[in-house]
Assembly symmetry: C2
Homo-oligomer: 171 residues x 2
């Protein structure tokens, strides 16, 4: 089974010139989902993991599955104003302007080992901001993993010190 065959290419979405990678066909297939989880697990460093962070909102799909498999807690990192308790916030740059991500301050205890997950690694801006959030909580990032990596956007360079792993790559 080739996971890449479950990714649907959507030209000019959300804007002209962007070749969007639609992961929903993969989510529809329980065997493909289960293979992806297995491959993620295989590529993890051999260490105990306390928390899995998923980035809103497509990062939630696999982050909860990985948390369950690791017997770890799950933490959603969200857009501003969505998390109801005290948060840390970090900005990141977009092509035009910037955006913000938040984490609950009490989600991670100092020294806990944290896995970061998102569906797609593009320019790495959101992943990098999320790494800063995790570190502000005192967490130690053991890996950043992604279902899809758009290698030509070189996002991995921004977070390479944490270890980057991806299952489906486009170069």
């Amino acid at each position: 089974m080739e996971l890449k065959s479950y990714i649907r290419n959507i030209p000019d979405f959300p804007t002209k010139g962007v070749n969007y990678k639609d992961i929903t066909p993969l989510l529809l297939d329980p065997d493909a989902m289960s293979l992806a989880v297995k491959l993620f697990m295989k590529q993890l460093p051999h260490t105990n993991i306390d928390k899995v962070v998923g980035i809103e909102s497509r990062g939630f799909f696999f982050a909860t599955l990985l948390a369950e498999r690791l017997n770890a807690g799950f933490i959603p990192v969200r857009k501003p104003g969505k998390l109801p308790h005290s948060t840390h916030a970090e900005d990141y740059d977009l092509e035009y302007g910037s955006d913000t991500l938040e984490i609950h301050e009490d989600a991670i205890k100092r020294g806990e080992k944290v896995l970061l997950h998102d569906d797609v690694l593009a320019t790495g801006g959101t992943a990098e901001a999320t790494c800063r959030l995790i570190e502000r909580c005192g967490g130690e990032i053991v890996q950043c993993n992604f279902l899809v990596e758009l290698e030509f956007l070189k996002g991995a360079e921004k977070i390479k010190q944490y270890g980057v792993s991806s299952l489906i790559r486009y170069s």
Copy 2:
């Protein structure tokens, strides 16, 4: 273990007078997560389930876990403009104004058995709109389940024909 003890009450969030139920402490505890999945499974009707629909975005947390447990496909129902392929759309009423949810048209095959999941059942507007989406795709809803039910808002009445199940109730 009492699941309700993992829900954090946030007064006046997101607006004055609303007592927000924060489920993130439950997500942080792998034992509580695992108990919730077990209880969801126990309350399902005894029938084969082909697809699990989760409503954006907190509905995604448990919908993927339930899909995995059921060996079913997972379908995200999302806010407008997020799903890249052909969609059905349904509006639902909010306290002031209305909003829209979308589903990929090809996510469900005619006659497939579908479980709907969301984190909180409040007035039932989003759940009802999602039921319409599932039926427009030709799906047969076997149950609507929720981590939290705010019984005083009577949302269950809107979707009672499908069977409603919830783990934590506030009356």
